[in-house]
C-alpha cells in the first residue's frame, strides 16, 4: 500500500525521564521516528518531559513540547497543534499507556485524531492478561498456566493439574511477601494458606514454575498487508527468573537447534499476525531445555529495549521501518538503508555474535540488594560484537568500565570449593565471575549447570576463556597462543600480566606476527550484498574491511562516546556526542564515533561517517587510531568515559582538540588547581588530598568538621560523603578503597550555602555563558539530584558579577577551548568554587534548549578555531530569559531495594524532567508533575527531622497547616512542633509499639513525608525504614527541607489553577 496521504501532522509521544527499565533506547527510537516522519514531509509535533534527549531538539521535530506526560498536557497540545495523527508505539510503556488512556476517553475521535500503526485493539489484546491468554489459545500458543484462587483446596487442585513445581503469588502484597515456590504438595500446604492469609483480598495466584527454562526473544515486524519477518533472535544466558534487562543476552540465539529455532520463530510470526501488529513487536518465550515444550511469556506490541538491541545487533533500523509502516507503507516498499539494494522485507541474517551486558548501579549503591529477579535493576547496558562468543563476552565485560578485563576476580580467589558451591546459588550481578572462579577451582560444567541451570554451551565457553587464561600463565607466549587469546578477547595488558610481559611488548609481538584486528561491517545480510553502511566491529584472524581511507579534502575527527547509561553519566552525554558529530559534519569534517551503548542515538549508523562499535579502552581505541589516523580526537562530550582516555590518546600521538590534556589535568589535580585559584584570587572551601585513612582523619581535623570526602576523577559524586567525625571517615575510606584508586582522595571543608552552576563556551579568549542555574537544595546535595532553576531566582547581581568574573578567569587560566562547567557556592560571606570541569556537563542539553544557544555546536566551532565574536551568539552572560525553566531529578528507588533515598553528595537520580513556564512557581509545579509525583493538596503530613532542622521545619509545618494538612510527628519533633504552636499529633516510633510510624505510613493514612536523615553514612535504621516504606507505598518522601519548601510552593500553584504549555521551538 502506498503512503497514507491523509497523514500530514503527527504527534510523537516520548517516554519521559530515564528510569530503570526505560532508558535511552526510546530517545533512539523516537529520534529515528521523527527524522523519518520529516523525511516523508510530515510536520512533527513532539511531547516529552525529558530535556536531555535528542528528540526534544527543535531540529528533530517542528514543534517541541517539553511538558509533563499527562493526559491534561496531551489534550492541551492536541488542541493547540491540531495534529491529524499520533504515533504512540515509540515512547516505551509510558508513551503507549498515555496514548491508550487518551484514546479511551474519546477525546481523539472528538478532535479527529487517529492513532497510527498498531491499533488500540491490538495493544489492549496484548496488554490485557485474559484477553492475551484467549488470543494465544485461539492460535494454539501456550502461555504459562496460572489461576487465581481463594481457597487452599482450589489451589492444590490447580497445582496438581499443571504439575509441580508451582509459584504461589499472594495478591496485593508488596515485593511478593508470602509467596514462594512449592516443589511438591507438602511445600504447597505450607506456603499456600500463609499466602492467602497475607493477601489483602485473600487471593493467591498459582502459576506453573518455569524457572530454569531457556529465555528466548524474537523481534518481529509486520505490515498492514500481513507480511511479517523476524529481525533477530536473542537468547538470555541467564535462564528464566532473571529479568531480561538484567540478563546477559546474546544474539542470535546460540543453543537452539533448527527445530526449536523454527518452532519459536514460527510461533512469533503467528502471534504477531494474530495480534495484527502494524510495526515492531517483541515476543518472549520460555523453552523447556529438554523438550519442545515452550510458553509465551510476554509480548510488547511496541518498540522496546530489545528492539534497540536487535536494531544495533543486526543493523536493521527497526524504528525507522516501524514508522514507515505506521504511515501505510509495506515492508516490500521500504528500502533497506544498510544495503541500499534490498528491501525491509529481507530478514536480516548476521555473521557475528553479539553480547549484551547489563550495567548495574551497585558500584554506586553499595548497600543495595544485588539479587536479580523479576524486577529490573540495571540502569544501562553495553553491547559488543565479535566472531566468537568468548571475544564478545570479554569485550562486553571490559566495556562496563568496572576496571575488569578478565573473569578471574581477586575477591573470589581465596574462596574454597565449598564456598563457591554456595556462591553459585546466588543469582546476582557477580554470577559470571563466580562461575569463572568455580572453573578455576575445578568445579565441573555439569555441577555448575545443576546449580545455575545455565546451558552447558555457555558454561563450556566460559570455561574455555578461563582455561586459556591458565594456559597462558604456563610457559612462554607463542604466536599461536597469542592469536587465540586475541580471538578470545583478552587485552594485551592482561596477556602481558599472564605471561610476564609488558603490554607494549605484547603489542610488538602481535605486530611482528601480523596478529592485528580486522574491522568487519555490520550489513544485515552476512556479506550477501555489498553494503554501504560504515558500521564496524573488530575481530582477529580476519581480513580488514574498513580501509581507513580519507575523504577527499576532509580532515578526520574521532569522537569518543560515553558508554553505558549509569547514575551520574546518562543520556546527556550522548546528546552532546551526537551534536558534536553533527557540528563537525556541518563544518566539513569527516567524523568517526566510537561507542558501545546499543540504546543510544550515537550508535545509529547514520549519525557519524563511520561508527566503530567497540569498548572504550585505550587498546581498543588505539587499534582504531592506528587504522584511521585521525587528524584529532574530541573527548569533551563523552563524559568521564571519554575524558579518561585523554592521556592514552595523547600517548598515541593523537591531537586532543579543544582544551589541552595538560589543562584538563590542571583542573582535576588538586594542587595544580589550587595554584590557579590562588593566582586568580578565587576562594574555595579548604581542602587536602590524601591517600590513606590516617591522612584523611588528620586532614579533616585540620580543616574542621564537617568535611566532604571523595575520590578525584569521578562523575556524579561517586563515593562522596559528608563526614562529621573520625568514625565516618574510617567507614567511607574503607568503601572508597574497595576499588583500586589510581588518583588521590579529596577531603574538603563542607560550606553551607546556595549552589549555582554555570556552563560556558570558551574560545581561548572570550567566553559565552548562555545562562546561570541555581539549585533549590543547599550545598551537600549533589548537583545532579538538585532541582535546578534557570534563570537564578535569589542570587544578587553582585554575586552574579562575581560568578561571571570567576568563570572568565578560570576559563582563561585553564586555556579552555570548548566547554567548561563550574559549580559555585554562594554563601553568606561570598562566592566559593566547588569544582571545575573543563568538559561538557549534564546540564548542557537542558540549558541549550531553554536559552536557545546551541552550546555543543558553538563549542565545536571554537575547538576548530572559530571565535565566539564571529558566531553571533554574543559573549559574556546572555540576558536572562523572561520565562523560568526548572530541571527536576527523577529517581528509580522503588526498583532498588535497600537503597537509602535520602539526598546527599552522592548522586542517586537516574533521569530528569523539565518544567518551563512564565513564572517560577508554575515551572516548579510542572516539573513536579512531570517527575510523576502525586502532589497532595491536603491530607496527612508526617514530619520526622533531625534536631538541627526542627526550627526550620516548624515554619514549614505551619504553612502546610494553612493549606489544610494535618501534621503528624514522632516524639521529639512532635513536642517541638506543639511547643511552637503547631497542632501536631504524635505517632509512635518504631520501638514504641504498634501502631507505629511504619503502620501509619503503610496504613494508607499518610499523604506526604518529610524526613531529614541523621548525619553520617551510619544508617539510622528507623529513618531508613521510614523512607523505604514511603517509597514502596508511593508516598512522596522529601529528605531536604528545601525540596519541601519547593513542593509547598507547587501545592499553592496547583490550587491557583491551570498552567499553559510552551513550544520551545518558539522561544
Amino acid at each position: 500500500m502506498p503512503k497514507n496521504t491523509d497523514v500530514k501532522k503527527v504527534l510523537v509521544i516520548g517516554s519521559g525521564p530515564i528510569i530503570i527499565g526505560q532508558a535511552a533506547e526510546f530517545d533512539y527510537a523516537g529520534t529515528q521516528a521523527c527524522r523519518t516522519l520529516k523525511e516523508e514531509g510530515m510536520e512533527v509535533v513532539l511531547i516529552n518531559s525529558n530535556p536531555a534527549t535528542i528528540m526534544t531538539d527543535k531540529d528533530i521535530a517542528d514543534k517541541v513540547y517539553i511538558e509533563p506526560l499527562t493526559i491534561e498536557t496531551l489534550k492541551k497540545v492536541i488542541i493547540a497543534e491540531k495534529p491529524d495523527s499520533i504515533l504512540p508505539t515509540l515512547g516505551g510503556q509510558t508513551g503507549l499507556n498515555l496514548a491508550m488512556e487518551i484514546a479511551e476517553t474519546g477525546f481523539l475521535e472528538e478532535h479527529g485524531v487517529k492513532l497510527l500503526g498498531t491499533s488500540p485493539e491490538t495493544i489492549r489484546m496484548a496488554e490485557d492478561r485474559q484477553g492475551f491468554k484467549d488470543a494465544m489459545e485461539d492460535i494454539g500458543q501456550p502461555c504459562i498456566a496460572s489461576k487465581v484462587v481463594e481457597t487452599y483446596a482450589d489451589g492444590l487442585a490447580f497445582a496438581k493439574e499443571i504439575g509441580f513445581p508451582v509459584i504461589i503469588r499472594p495478591a496485593y502484597t508488596l515485593g511478593g511477601t508470602g509467596g514462594g515456590i512449592a516443589e511438591n504438595e507438602e511445600e504447597f500446604s505450607q506456603i499456600a494458606p500463609h499466602g492467602i492469609r497475607l493477601s489483602r483480598v485473600g487471593q493467591i495466584l498459582v502459576e506453573k514454575c518455569i524457572a530454569g527454562w531457556k529465555e528466548i526473544e524474537f523481534e518481529a515486524m509486520r505490515d498492514a498487508s500481513g507480511s511479517a519477518i523476524t529481525i533477530c533472535s536473542m537468547e538470555n544466558l541467564d535462564p528464566v527468573g532473571v529479568h531480561t534487562g538484567d540478563s546477559i543476552v546474546v544474539a542470535p540465539a546460540q543453543t537452539l537447534a533448527t527445530k526449536e529455532f523454527n518452532m519459536l520463530r514460527e510461533a512469533a510470526l503467528k502471534i504477531i499476525n494474530k495480534l495484527g501488529v502494524e510495526g515492531g513487536c517483541n515476543i518472549q518465550f520460555a523453552l523447556e531445555p529438554n523438550s519442545f515444550e515452550y510458553a509465551v511469556i510476554e509480548v510488547n506490541p511496541r518498540l522496546s529495549r530489545s528492539s534497540a538491541l536487535a536494531s544495533k545487533a543486526t543493523g536493521y533500523p527497526i524504528a525507522k521501518v516501524a514508522t514507515r509502516i505506521a504511515m501505510g507503507y509495506n515492508l516490500d516498499e521500504i528500502k533497506n538503508a544498510v544495503t541500499g539494494k534490498t528491501f525491509a522485507g529481507f530478514e536480516p541474517t548476521i555473521d557475528y555474535i553479539v553480547a549484551k551486558f547489563p550495567k548495574w548501579p551497585f558500584d554506586k549503591f553499595v548497600t543495595a540488594e544485588r539479587k536479580l529477579g523479576t524486577q529490573m535493576k540495571a540502569t544501562g547496558e553495553v553491547m559488543s560484537i565479535a566472531t566468537s562468543f568468548e571475544g564478545a563476552l570479554l569485550k562486553a565485560v571490559r566495556s562496563l568500565e568496572l576496571n575488569i578485563f578478565q573473569l578471574d576476580l581477586p575477591q573470589y580467589r581465596e574462596f574454597t570449593k565449598e564456598m563457591l558451591y554456595e556462591e553459585l546459588k546466588k543469582i546476582d550481578d557477580m554470577r559470571l565471575f563466580v562461575i569463572a572462579q568455580a572453573f578455576l577451582k575445578g568445579i565441573t560444567v555439569e555441577e555448575i549447570h545443576d546449580i545455575t541451570k545455565i546451558d552447558n554451551w555457555f558454561l563450556t565457553k566460559i570455561k574455555a576463556i578461563v582455561d586459556l587464561g591458565v594456559e597462558l600463565k604456563k610457559g612462554s607466549l607463542t604466536p599461536e597462543k597469542l592469536e587465540k587469546a586475541k580471538i578470545y578477547g583478552y587485552t594485551d595488558k592482561i596477556i602481558g600480566e599472564y605471561v610476564g610481559m609488558d603490554e607494549k611488548a605484547v603489542k610488538e609481538m602481535r605486530k611482528a606476527n601480523s596478529i592485528m584486528p580486522a574491522y568487519k561491517m555490520v550489513d544485515t545480510c552476512a556479506a550477501e550484498f555489498e553494503a554501504i553502511t560504515p558500521y564496524y566491529y573488530s575481530c582477529y584472524g580476519s581480513e580488514n574491511e574498513s580501509k581507513g581511507e580519507v575523504q577527499e579534502g576532509k580532515k578526520k575527527i574521532m569522537v569518543l562516546g560515553s558508554g553505558p547509561i549509569r547514575i551520574g553519566q546518562g543520556i546527556e552525554f550522548d546528546y552532546c556526542s551526537v551534536h558534536c558529530v553533527w557540528a563537525l559534519k556541518s563544518l566539513g569534517y569527516e567524523t568517526i564515533i566510537v561507542n558501545n551503548n546499543p540504546e543510544t542515538v550515537s550508535t545509529d549508523f547514520d549519525i557519524a561517517d563511520k561508527l566503530y562499535f567497540e569498548p572504550l579502552t585505550p587498546e581498543d581505541v588505539e587499534n582504531i587510531v592506528d587504522l584511521e589516523q585521525p587528524y584529532g580526537a574530541i573527548v569533551q562530550f563523552g563524559g568521564q568515559t571519554a575524558i579518561k582516555l585523554t592521556k592514552a590518546l595523547k600517548d598515541m600521538g593523537v591531537r586532543i582538540l579543544g582544551t589541552k590534556a595538560e589543562d584538563v589535568d590542571r583542573a582535576e589535580d588538586r594542587e595544580l588547581f589550587d595554584e590557579i585559584l590562588e593566582a586568580n584570587n578565587i576562594p574555595r572551601p579548604a581542602g587536602r588530598t590524601v591517600f590513606t585513612c590516617e591522612e584523611a582523619i588528620e586532614a579533616a581535623n585540620e580543616i574542621g568538621y564537617p568535611v566532604l570526602v571523595r575520590p578525584s576523577y569521578v562523575l556524579g559524586g561517586q563515593g562522596m560523603e559528608i563526614a562529621y567525625n573520625d568514625r565516618d571517615i574510617t567507614v567511607y575510606m574503607e568503601i572508597i578503597n574497595r576499588s583500586v584508586q589510581e588518583h588521590p582522595i579529596l577531603v574538603d571543608k563542607y560550606v553551607i550555602g546556595k549552589e549555582v552552576e554555570v556552563d560556558a563556551v570558551c574560545d581561548g579568549e572570550d567566553i559565552l555563558i548562555p545562562g546561570i542555574m541555581e539549585h533549590i537544595e543547599r550545598t551537600g546535595v549533589h548537583s545532579g539530584d538538585s532541582i535546578s532553576v534557570y534563570p537564578t531566582q535569589t542570587i544578587s547581581q553582585k554575586d552574579i558579577d562575581t560568578i561571571i568574573d570567576y568563570t572568565e578567569k578560570l576559563a582563561r587560566a585553564l586555556n579552555v577551548v570548548g566547554l567548561i562547567n563550574i559549580q559555585f557556592i554562594v554563601a553568606s560571606d561570598g562566592v566559593y568554587i566547588i569544582e571545575v570541569n573543563p568538559r561538557s556537563s549534564r546540564t548542557v542539553p537542558y540549558i541549550s534548549k531553554v536559552t536557545n544557544v546551541p552550546i555543543v555546536k558553538l563549542a565545536v566551532r571554537a575547538m576548530m578555531g572559530e571565535k565566539l565574536k564571529d558566531m553571533g551568539y554574543g559573549i559574556g552572560l546572555n540576558p536572562a530569559a523572561d520565562y523560568v525553566a526548572v530541571k527536576m531529578p527523577v529517581f528509580s528507588f522503588e526498583k532498588l531495594h535497600d537503597v537509602d533515598i535520602s539526598l546527599g553528595p552522592e548522586m542517586k537520580s537516574t533521569g530528569e524532567v523539565l518544567g518551563i513556564a512564565p513564572t517560577f512557581h508554575e515551572a516548579l509545579y510542572k516539573s513536579f508533575v512531570g517527575s510523576n509525583m502525586k502532589i497532595p493538596t491536603e491530607g496527612n503530613l508526617l514530619i520526622t527531622v533531625r534536631d538541627t532542622d526542627k526550627e526550620e521545619v516548624c515554619a514549614l509545618a505551619k504553612e502546610f497547616e494553612k493549606h489544610g494538612f494535618r501534621i503528624y510527628a514522632t516524639g521529639g519533633t512532635c513536642k517541638y512542633l506543639i511547643d511552637n504552636g503547631v497542632n501536631a499529633k504524635k505517632v509512635n516510633k518504631i520501638a514504641e509499639g504498634a501502631p507505629d510510624i511504619l503502620d501509619f505510613i503503610s496504613g494508607g493514612g499518610c499523604d506526604l513525608v518529610i524526613n531529614t536523615p541523621t548525619r553520617g553514612r551510619q544508617h539510622n535504621r528507623d529513618g531508613f525504614k521510614i523512607r523505604r516504606t514511603s517509597v514502596e507505598r508511593s508516598i512522596p518522601c522529601l529528605t531536604s527541607l528545601d525540596t519541601a519548601k519547593a513542593l509547598l510552593a507547587s501545592i499553592e500553584q496547583k490550587s491557583a489553577g491551570d498552567v499553559g504549555i510552551i513550544d520551545i521551538s518558539t522561544l
Partner: protein, 351 residues
C-alpha cells in the same frame, strides 16, 4: 592439522582440518543461515559442493541424525570459522565433528568465512580445493579452472522406488535428490506417496494415473539434464497436477520452453522474501539454488511468485494446466503450498 582452501582465483585460506582428512575439489558456495547445518549438509541439492557457512560458530547444538534431509551428507566439504567444541542440545546424538567423520566428509575451520563469502559475491561462484598437504598454487589453480561437476541427479537419486501408504490422493514424487522434509510434508497430509528414482521411465509413472506428481529439488545445472527435461515435457503434456520444487521448478520451466540461467549470486540461506501475488503479501523462504528461471512465455505461464529483492522469478503457474512450481522449499509458514497442491488434485477428502 593445518588445512588450506585454494580458490580458482588463486586466493589461499589457511585453517585447521576438520572432519575426515582428505583432499577435495568442489564448487564453493556460501550459505547465510544461522542454524541448519545438519540439514544443509545432508540436502542432496548441495551434492558435490563445498559449503561456506557465514555464521561464525557452527556445531553448537551438535547433530541429531533424524534431522538429516537424506541418508548421508552430500556436500563435499564444510568451511567454517569456528567448529564449536562446546555442543549442547537435549536431542544431540553426536557432535558435528563426528558427523563429518561418519560420512567421510572433510572440512576446514579457522578461516575468515565472511571474506570468502564476499569474494564469491564479487567474483561469482568458484571452484575450490581443500587439502592438508603441500601444493603448488599454479598447478592447483590450473586444475580448478578445468574442473567440471558431474551429473548430480544420477548420483543422488534413489536406486529403487518406495511406497508410503496413505489414505489420500495418490502422488508420485520424482526424486532428483528429494529432501526428507518434502516427503514428510506430503505424509503429513496423508497422501499415498511413491518416490521414484529419476531414472524410472516416465511412461511407467504416467501410466499409473497418479493424482499428482511432485518434481523434487536436486543438485546441478538443470540445462544439462536433457533426458530429464524430455521426461518433464511428457508430464507437462499430461493433465496431472504437478508441484515443482526448486530444481523441479527449473526443469518444468525448461520443459515448457522457458529459459534457465546460472545466477550471478545464487540464493542460499533462510531469509529470502518471496511475494505471493495472489495473497498480496510476501513470506520469508529458505532457498538453495544457483540457477534461476529467467524467462518463460506469458502465454505458457504467469509469474505467481517473485523475489522482492532482486525480482527473480520464484514461482510459476502454468496456464491451462494444473501446474504450480516454486523455486523454494515450502516449509513452516509456506507449508500451505502443499495444501494448495492437495486442492489442485481435487481436494482433500481423506486428509
Amino acid at each position: 592439522m593445518k588445512a588450506y582452501l585454494i580458490l580458482e582465483d588463486g586466493s589461499v585460506y589457511e585453517g585447521e582440518s576438520i572432519g575426515a582428512v582428505r583432499d577435495c575439489t568442489c564448487e564453493i558456495v556460501a550459505n547465510t543461515s544461522v542454524v541448519g547445518y545438519v540439514e544443509t549438509l545432508s540436502d542432496p541439492s548441495y551434492y558435490g559442493q563445498g559449503v561456506v557457512l557465514t555464521y561464525p560458530i557452527v556445531g553448537s547444538y551438535g547433530v541429531n541424525l533424524s534431522d538429516m534431509e537424506s541418508e548421508r551428507i552430500w556436500a563435499k566439504c564444510l568451511i567454517v570459522r569456528e567448529l564449536s567444541e562446546a555442543a549442547s542440545n537435549f536431542r544431540m546424538e553426536i557432535t558435528l565433528s563426528d558427523y563429518l567423520c561418519r560420512y567421510g566428509v572433510t572440512g576446514i575451520e579457522g578461516v575468515d568465512t565472511r571474506a570468502i563469502a564476499s569474494k564469491l559475491r564479487d567474483k561469482g561462484s568458484m571452484t575450490g580445493f581443500v587439502t592438508t598437504a603441500h601444493f603448488e598454487l599454479d598447478e592447483v589453480v590450473a586444475k580448478l579452472k578445468e574442473y567440471k561437476a558431474k551429473n548430480g541427479i544420477k548420483a543422488v537419486t534413489s536406486v529403487s522406488s518406495r511406497h508410503i501408504e496413505g489414505s489420500g490422493k495418490k502422488v508420485a514424487v520424482i526424486d532428483y535428490g528429494v529432501k526428507k522434509s518434502i516427503v514428510e510434508s506430503l505424509k503429513a497430509r496423508n497422501l499415498d506417496i511413491t518416490v521414484y528414482p529419476a531414472t524410472t521411465p516416465i511412461d511407467e509413472i504416467l501410466e499409473k494415473k497418479y493424482d499428482g506428481i511432485v518434481l523434487s529439488n536436486g543438485p546441478g545445472n538443470p540445462c544439462e539434464y536433457e533426458d530429464v527435461i524430455a521426461d518433464v515435457k511428457k508430464i507437462y503434456q499430461s493433465d496431472i497436477a504437478v508441484l515443482g520444487i526448486e530444481l523441479g521448478h527449473e526443469l518444468m520451466a525448461l520443459a515448457a520452453g522457458g529459459s534457465v540461467e546460472k545466477m550471478e549470486h545464487g540464493h542460499r540461506g533462510g531469509n529470502y522474501p518471496v511475494k505471493f501475488n495472489d495473497l498480496g503479501r510476501f513470506y520469508i523462504t529458505s532457498q538453495n539454488h544457483g540457477y534461476v528461471v529467467t524467462a518463460i512465455d506469458e502465454s505458457v505461464a504467469e509469474v505467481s511468485h517473485y523475489n522482492i529483492n532482486d525480482s527473480t522469478i520464484e514461482g510459476l503457474k502454468y496456464k491451462g494446466k494444473n501446474i504450480l512450481t516454486v523455486q523454494f522449499a515450502p516449509c513452516h509458514e509456506t507449508d500451505f503450498i502443499y495444501d494448495n497442491f492437495v486442492s489442485m488434485m481435487g481436494g482433500c477428502e481423506n486428509a
